[in-house]
Symmetry: C2
Subunit: 192 residues, 2 copies
Protein backbone atom coordinates (compact mmCIF):
# COMPACT_ATOMS: atom_id res chain seq x y z
CA UNK A 1 0.00 0.00 0.00
CA UNK A 2 1.69 3.18 -1.18
CA UNK A 3 2.09 5.88 1.46
CA UNK A 4 2.58 9.54 0.59
CA UNK A 5 4.74 11.70 2.87
CA UNK A 6 3.03 14.92 3.98
CA UNK A 7 5.76 16.15 6.33
CA UNK A 8 5.34 17.28 9.94
CA UNK A 9 1.92 18.91 10.12
CA UNK A 10 -1.39 19.42 11.80
CA UNK A 11 -3.50 16.84 10.15
CA UNK A 12 -7.06 15.73 10.25
CA UNK A 13 -9.16 13.46 12.35
CA UNK A 14 -12.60 13.87 13.99
CA UNK A 15 -12.50 16.45 16.74
CA UNK A 16 -15.14 17.97 18.99
CA UNK A 17 -16.61 21.38 18.24
CA UNK A 18 -16.87 23.30 21.47
CA UNK A 19 -17.37 26.85 22.63
CA UNK A 20 -15.29 27.86 25.63
CA UNK A 21 -16.94 30.48 27.82
CA UNK A 22 -14.98 32.66 30.21
CA UNK A 23 -15.23 35.93 32.11
CA UNK A 24 -12.62 38.59 32.80
CA UNK A 25 -12.03 40.44 36.08
CA UNK A 26 -14.88 42.86 35.34
CA UNK A 27 -17.33 40.01 34.66
CA UNK A 28 -17.33 40.56 30.89
CA UNK A 29 -18.14 37.30 29.11
CA UNK A 30 -16.14 35.97 26.17
CA UNK A 31 -16.79 32.88 24.06
CA UNK A 32 -14.41 31.16 21.66
CA UNK A 33 -14.49 28.07 19.46
CA UNK A 34 -12.10 25.27 20.44
CA UNK A 35 -11.57 21.90 18.84
CA UNK A 36 -8.22 21.07 20.40
CA UNK A 37 -10.10 19.50 23.29
CA UNK A 38 -9.79 16.03 24.81
CA UNK A 39 -10.60 14.09 27.94
CA UNK A 40 -7.31 13.07 29.54
CA UNK A 41 -8.12 11.43 32.88
CA UNK A 42 -10.95 9.89 34.89
CA UNK A 43 -9.11 10.19 38.21
CA UNK A 44 -10.31 12.89 38.64
CA UNK A 45 -12.28 13.74 35.46
CA UNK A 46 -9.87 15.98 33.60
CA UNK A 47 -10.12 17.80 30.31
CA UNK A 48 -7.36 19.32 28.17
CA UNK A 49 -7.83 22.31 25.90
CA UNK A 50 -5.10 24.07 23.95
CA UNK A 51 -5.44 27.75 23.03
CA UNK A 52 -3.23 30.31 21.28
CA UNK A 53 -1.53 32.44 23.91
CA UNK A 54 -2.80 35.71 22.41
CA UNK A 55 -6.46 34.76 22.80
CA UNK A 56 -8.64 36.74 25.21
CA UNK A 57 -10.06 33.42 26.42
CA UNK A 58 -6.60 32.33 27.48
CA UNK A 59 -6.06 35.59 29.39
CA UNK A 60 -9.42 35.12 31.13
CA UNK A 61 -8.72 31.50 32.12
CA UNK A 62 -5.26 32.44 33.36
CA UNK A 63 -6.75 35.18 35.50
CA UNK A 64 -9.92 33.47 36.75
CA UNK A 65 -8.82 29.83 36.82
CA UNK A 66 -12.22 28.70 35.54
CA UNK A 67 -14.06 28.14 32.28
CA UNK A 68 -16.91 26.17 30.72
CA UNK A 69 -16.62 23.89 27.68
CA UNK A 70 -19.93 23.90 25.81
CA UNK A 71 -20.45 21.09 23.28
CA UNK A 72 -21.90 22.42 20.02
CA UNK A 73 -24.86 20.83 18.15
CA UNK A 74 -24.78 20.69 14.36
CA UNK A 75 -27.43 23.38 13.91
CA UNK A 76 -25.14 25.95 15.53
CA UNK A 77 -22.41 25.45 12.93
CA UNK A 78 -22.33 29.06 11.74
CA UNK A 79 -22.17 30.44 15.27
CA UNK A 80 -19.39 27.99 16.10
CA UNK A 81 -17.37 28.99 13.06
CA UNK A 82 -17.92 32.68 13.74
CA UNK A 83 -16.63 32.43 17.29
CA UNK A 84 -13.34 31.01 15.98
CA UNK A 85 -12.94 33.80 13.43
CA UNK A 86 -13.37 36.92 15.52
CA UNK A 87 -11.72 38.17 18.69
CA UNK A 88 -13.67 39.01 21.83
CA UNK A 89 -11.32 41.97 22.20
CA UNK A 90 -13.11 43.65 19.28
CA UNK A 91 -16.55 42.09 18.92
CA UNK A 92 -19.37 40.97 21.21
CA UNK A 93 -19.73 37.48 19.79
CA UNK A 94 -22.84 36.74 21.85
CA UNK A 95 -24.61 39.67 20.22
CA UNK A 96 -23.67 38.63 16.67
CA UNK A 97 -24.47 34.94 17.10
CA UNK A 98 -27.57 35.39 19.25
CA UNK A 99 -26.25 32.84 21.75
CA UNK A 100 -27.26 33.36 25.38
CA UNK A 101 -25.68 32.41 28.69
CA UNK A 102 -26.91 31.04 31.99
CA UNK A 103 -25.15 30.77 35.35
CA UNK A 104 -22.99 27.76 36.04
CA UNK A 105 -23.24 25.98 39.40
CA UNK A 106 -19.60 25.59 40.43
CA UNK A 107 -17.66 28.18 38.42
CA UNK A 108 -18.11 31.88 37.74
CA UNK A 109 -17.90 31.50 33.94
CA UNK A 110 -21.36 30.99 32.40
CA UNK A 111 -22.84 28.15 30.35
CA UNK A 112 -24.05 28.70 26.80
CA UNK A 113 -27.77 27.92 27.01
CA UNK A 114 -28.10 26.68 23.41
CA UNK A 115 -25.39 24.01 23.85
CA UNK A 116 -26.95 20.77 25.16
CA UNK A 117 -23.92 19.73 27.19
CA UNK A 118 -21.73 21.93 29.36
CA UNK A 119 -18.60 21.03 31.30
CA UNK A 120 -17.69 23.31 34.18
CA UNK A 121 -13.92 23.30 34.51
CA UNK A 122 -11.33 24.46 37.02
CA UNK A 123 -7.75 24.96 35.79
CA UNK A 124 -5.17 22.67 37.37
CA UNK A 125 -2.07 22.92 35.16
CA UNK A 126 -0.71 24.84 32.21
CA UNK A 127 1.89 23.55 29.74
CA UNK A 128 3.44 26.05 27.27
CA UNK A 129 3.80 24.59 23.76
CA UNK A 130 5.27 27.17 21.39
CA UNK A 131 2.58 29.76 20.65
CA UNK A 132 -0.04 27.63 22.41
CA UNK A 133 -0.92 26.86 26.00
CA UNK A 134 -2.21 23.45 26.95
CA UNK A 135 -4.63 23.91 29.83
CA UNK A 136 -5.53 20.96 32.02
CA UNK A 137 -8.68 21.33 34.07
CA UNK A 138 -10.78 19.28 36.44
CA UNK A 139 -14.38 18.81 35.28
CA UNK A 140 -16.25 19.84 38.45
CA UNK A 141 -19.78 19.63 37.03
CA UNK A 142 -21.52 18.52 33.84
CA UNK A 143 -24.91 19.89 32.84
CA UNK A 144 -27.20 18.66 30.10
CA UNK A 145 -30.47 19.84 28.57
CA UNK A 146 -33.34 17.62 27.49
CA UNK A 147 -32.09 17.52 23.88
CA UNK A 148 -28.94 15.72 25.02
CA UNK A 149 -30.88 13.04 26.91
CA UNK A 150 -33.18 10.28 25.65
CA UNK A 151 -36.37 8.81 27.14
CA UNK A 152 -34.32 6.54 29.41
CA UNK A 153 -32.41 9.44 30.91
CA UNK A 154 -29.22 8.57 29.04
CA UNK A 155 -27.06 10.89 26.97
CA UNK A 156 -28.03 10.41 23.33
CA UNK A 157 -26.25 11.34 20.13
CA UNK A 158 -29.45 11.12 18.09
CA UNK A 159 -31.21 14.05 19.70
CA UNK A 160 -28.03 15.97 20.50
CA UNK A 161 -26.56 15.79 16.97
CA UNK A 162 -23.09 17.02 18.01
CA UNK A 163 -21.00 18.80 15.40
CA UNK A 164 -17.72 17.21 14.31
CA UNK A 165 -14.73 19.33 13.32
CA UNK A 166 -12.16 17.99 10.90
CA UNK A 167 -8.98 19.92 11.59
CA UNK A 168 -6.38 20.03 8.83
CA UNK A 169 -9.07 20.20 6.16
CA UNK A 170 -11.13 22.77 8.08
CA UNK A 171 -14.57 21.25 7.61
CA UNK A 172 -17.54 20.83 9.92
CA UNK A 173 -19.57 17.63 9.56
CA UNK A 174 -22.61 16.12 11.18
CA UNK A 175 -22.68 12.54 12.42
CA UNK A 176 -24.02 9.84 10.11
CA UNK A 177 -24.98 6.56 11.69
CA UNK A 178 -24.00 4.45 14.63
CA UNK A 179 -21.56 1.77 13.54
CA UNK A 180 -20.88 -0.13 16.76
CA UNK A 181 -21.15 -0.23 20.52
CA UNK A 182 -17.74 0.21 22.09
CA UNK A 183 -16.20 -2.25 24.56
CA UNK A 184 -18.51 -4.91 23.12
CA UNK A 185 -18.85 -5.34 19.37
CA UNK A 186 -15.11 -5.85 18.82
CA UNK A 187 -15.35 -9.21 20.63
CA UNK A 188 -17.05 -10.61 17.50
CA UNK A 189 -13.55 -10.92 16.03
CA UNK A 190 -12.75 -13.65 18.56
CA UNK A 191 -15.63 -15.87 17.46
CA UNK A 192 -14.54 -18.89 15.45
Amino acid sequence: MHKQLLGPSITFFPQPTTLVSTIDATGKINIMTASWVAMVSKTPPTLAVSLHHLRQSYANIREQGEFVVNVVPADLVLAADYCGLRSGKEIDKLAVTGLTTVRATKVAAPLIAECPLNLECRLTLEVPLGDYRLLLAEVVEVQATASAIDAHGDLSANSFDPLVYLGGIREYWSLGEKRATAYKDGLQLEKP
Copy 2:
Protein backbone atom coordinates in the same frame (compact mmCIF):
# COMPACT_ATOMS: atom_id res chain seq x y z
CA MET B 1 -33.85 26.16 29.35
CA HIS B 2 -33.76 23.51 32.07
CA LYS B 3 -30.35 22.05 32.75
CA GLN B 4 -29.85 18.70 34.44
CA LEU B 5 -26.83 18.19 36.71
CA LEU B 6 -24.81 15.07 35.87
CA GLY B 7 -21.98 15.62 38.36
CA PRO B 8 -18.26 15.55 37.64
CA SER B 9 -17.78 12.97 34.89
CA ILE B 10 -16.29 11.89 31.64
CA THR B 11 -18.89 12.98 29.19
CA PHE B 12 -19.41 12.75 25.49
CA PHE B 13 -18.38 14.71 22.47
CA PRO B 14 -16.96 13.65 19.08
CA GLN B 15 -13.48 12.20 19.44
CA PRO B 16 -11.06 10.62 16.99
CA THR B 17 -10.70 6.86 16.76
CA THR B 18 -7.04 6.03 16.51
CA LEU B 19 -4.78 3.04 16.89
CA VAL B 20 -1.47 3.74 18.59
CA SER B 21 1.36 1.50 17.43
CA THR B 22 4.49 0.95 19.46
CA ILE B 23 7.37 -1.49 19.86
CA ASP B 24 9.12 -2.75 22.95
CA ALA B 25 12.87 -3.22 23.46
CA THR B 26 12.77 -6.58 21.66
CA GLY B 27 11.00 -5.09 18.63
CA LYS B 28 7.65 -6.70 19.48
CA ILE B 29 4.80 -4.62 18.09
CA ASN B 30 1.75 -3.61 20.10
CA ILE B 31 -1.34 -1.71 18.97
CA MET B 32 -4.00 -0.07 21.11
CA THR B 33 -7.12 1.99 20.53
CA ALA B 34 -6.97 5.59 21.75
CA SER B 35 -9.59 8.31 21.55
CA TRP B 36 -8.16 10.66 24.15
CA VAL B 37 -6.12 12.27 21.39
CA ALA B 38 -5.86 15.92 20.35
CA MET B 39 -3.66 18.30 18.43
CA VAL B 40 -2.27 20.81 20.92
CA SER B 41 0.24 23.00 19.06
CA LYS B 42 1.38 23.99 15.58
CA THR B 43 4.73 25.36 16.80
CA PRO B 44 5.95 22.68 16.39
CA PRO B 45 3.14 20.28 15.38
CA THR B 46 2.35 18.56 18.66
CA LEU B 47 -0.13 15.87 19.56
CA ALA B 48 -1.41 14.81 22.99
CA VAL B 49 -2.55 11.32 23.86
CA SER B 50 -3.57 10.10 27.30
CA LEU B 51 -3.21 6.43 28.25
CA HIS B 52 -3.80 4.39 31.40
CA HIS B 53 -0.48 3.86 33.15
CA LEU B 54 -0.88 0.06 33.21
CA ARG B 55 -1.11 -0.22 29.41
CA GLN B 56 1.65 -2.00 27.53
CA SER B 57 1.55 0.82 25.00
CA TYR B 58 2.44 3.30 27.72
CA ALA B 59 5.37 1.16 28.83
CA ASN B 60 6.59 0.93 25.23
CA ILE B 61 6.34 4.69 24.63
CA ARG B 62 8.07 5.43 27.91
CA GLU B 63 10.90 3.10 26.94
CA GLN B 64 11.25 3.91 23.25
CA GLY B 65 10.14 7.55 23.17
CA GLU B 66 8.32 7.00 19.88
CA PHE B 67 4.94 5.90 18.60
CA VAL B 68 2.59 6.20 15.63
CA VAL B 69 -1.00 7.43 15.78
CA ASN B 70 -3.01 5.73 13.02
CA VAL B 71 -6.37 7.30 12.16
CA VAL B 72 -9.08 4.64 11.79
CA PRO B 73 -11.58 4.51 8.90
CA ALA B 74 -15.19 3.52 9.64
CA ASP B 75 -14.89 0.09 8.03
CA LEU B 76 -12.32 -0.94 10.64
CA VAL B 77 -14.71 -0.33 13.53
CA LEU B 78 -14.60 -3.90 14.89
CA ALA B 79 -10.79 -3.99 14.80
CA ALA B 80 -10.65 -0.62 16.55
CA ASP B 81 -13.00 -1.73 19.29
CA TYR B 82 -11.15 -5.00 19.74
CA CYS B 83 -7.82 -3.27 20.22
CA GLY B 84 -9.28 -1.28 23.10
CA LEU B 85 -10.69 -4.38 24.79
CA ARG B 86 -7.69 -6.66 24.93
CA SER B 87 -4.18 -6.28 26.26
CA GLY B 88 -1.10 -6.74 24.12
CA LYS B 89 0.44 -8.47 27.12
CA GLU B 90 -1.84 -11.47 26.47
CA ILE B 91 -2.95 -11.37 22.86
CA ASP B 92 -1.43 -10.64 19.46
CA LYS B 93 -3.97 -8.09 18.35
CA LEU B 94 -2.52 -7.88 14.84
CA ALA B 95 -3.18 -11.59 14.35
CA VAL B 96 -6.79 -11.40 15.57
CA THR B 97 -7.71 -8.25 13.65
CA GLY B 98 -5.77 -9.06 10.48
CA LEU B 99 -4.20 -5.60 10.51
CA THR B 100 -0.71 -5.34 9.06
CA THR B 101 2.19 -2.97 9.65
CA VAL B 102 4.73 -1.18 7.47
CA ARG B 103 7.90 0.67 8.41
CA ALA B 104 7.67 4.30 9.43
CA THR B 105 10.20 6.80 8.05
CA LYS B 106 11.31 8.69 11.15
CA VAL B 107 10.45 6.46 14.11
CA ALA B 108 11.04 2.81 14.92
CA ALA B 109 7.36 2.09 15.70
CA PRO B 110 5.49 0.89 12.59
CA LEU B 111 2.49 2.32 10.73
CA ILE B 112 -0.73 0.33 10.42
CA ALA B 113 -1.09 -0.18 6.66
CA GLU B 114 -4.91 -0.27 6.64
CA CYS B 115 -5.21 3.17 8.30
CA PRO B 116 -5.20 5.92 5.63
CA LEU B 117 -3.42 8.50 7.79
CA ASN B 118 -0.49 7.93 10.09
CA LEU B 119 1.26 10.38 12.40
CA GLU B 120 4.80 9.52 13.40
CA CYS B 121 5.38 10.92 16.88
CA ARG B 122 8.33 11.53 19.18
CA LEU B 123 7.61 11.93 22.90
CA THR B 124 8.52 15.34 24.36
CA LEU B 125 6.76 15.53 27.74
CA GLU B 126 4.75 13.39 30.12
CA VAL B 127 2.21 14.68 32.63
CA PRO B 128 0.86 12.26 35.29
CA LEU B 129 -2.90 12.65 35.84
CA GLY B 130 -4.15 10.14 38.42
CA ASP B 131 -4.16 6.70 36.79
CA TYR B 132 -3.44 8.22 33.37
CA ARG B 133 -0.40 9.66 31.67
CA LEU B 134 -0.76 12.54 29.26
CA LEU B 135 1.92 12.16 26.61
CA LEU B 136 2.90 15.14 24.48
CA ALA B 137 4.70 14.34 21.27
CA GLU B 138 6.06 16.15 18.26
CA VAL B 139 4.54 14.99 14.96
CA VAL B 140 7.71 14.38 12.95
CA GLU B 141 6.05 12.92 9.83
CA VAL B 142 2.56 12.37 8.46
CA GLN B 143 1.84 9.69 5.87
CA ALA B 144 -1.31 9.18 3.87
CA THR B 145 -2.58 6.55 1.44
CA ALA B 146 -4.56 7.22 -1.71
CA SER B 147 -7.88 6.67 0.07
CA ALA B 148 -7.21 9.71 2.29
CA ILE B 149 -6.49 11.99 -0.69
CA ASP B 150 -8.80 13.29 -3.41
CA ALA B 151 -8.13 13.93 -7.12
CA HIS B 152 -6.63 17.35 -6.31
CA GLY B 153 -4.08 15.87 -3.93
CA ASP B 154 -5.88 17.17 -0.84
CA LEU B 155 -6.88 15.24 2.25
CA SER B 156 -10.53 14.24 1.87
CA ALA B 157 -13.09 13.06 4.41
CA ASN B 158 -15.30 11.56 1.71
CA SER B 159 -12.92 8.84 0.65
CA PHE B 160 -11.28 8.44 4.05
CA ASP B 161 -14.55 8.04 6.02
CA PRO B 162 -12.89 8.46 9.45
CA LEU B 163 -14.58 6.79 12.42
CA VAL B 164 -15.89 9.02 15.22
CA TYR B 165 -15.88 7.86 18.82
CA LEU B 166 -18.40 9.21 21.27
CA GLY B 167 -16.85 8.79 24.70
CA GLY B 168 -19.21 8.77 27.66
CA ILE B 169 -21.86 6.88 25.69
CA ARG B 170 -19.34 4.45 24.18
CA GLU B 171 -20.57 4.49 20.59
CA TYR B 172 -18.76 4.54 17.26
CA TRP B 173 -20.34 6.60 14.48
CA SER B 174 -19.54 7.37 10.86
CA LEU B 175 -19.64 10.91 9.51
CA GLY B 176 -22.82 12.15 7.87
CA GLU B 177 -22.53 15.22 5.69
CA LYS B 178 -20.40 18.33 5.45
CA ARG B 179 -22.18 21.21 7.15
CA ALA B 180 -19.78 24.11 6.62
CA THR B 181 -16.30 25.23 5.65
CA ALA B 182 -14.44 26.46 8.70
CA TYR B 183 -12.84 29.92 8.94
CA LYS B 184 -15.26 31.07 6.25
CA ASP B 185 -18.97 30.24 6.48
CA GLY B 186 -19.37 31.80 9.93
CA LEU B 187 -18.84 35.24 8.39
CA GLN B 188 -22.37 34.96 6.95
CA LEU B 189 -23.58 36.02 10.40
CA GLU B 190 -22.10 39.48 9.87
CA LYS B 191 -24.06 40.14 6.71
CA PRO B 192 -26.89 42.61 7.21
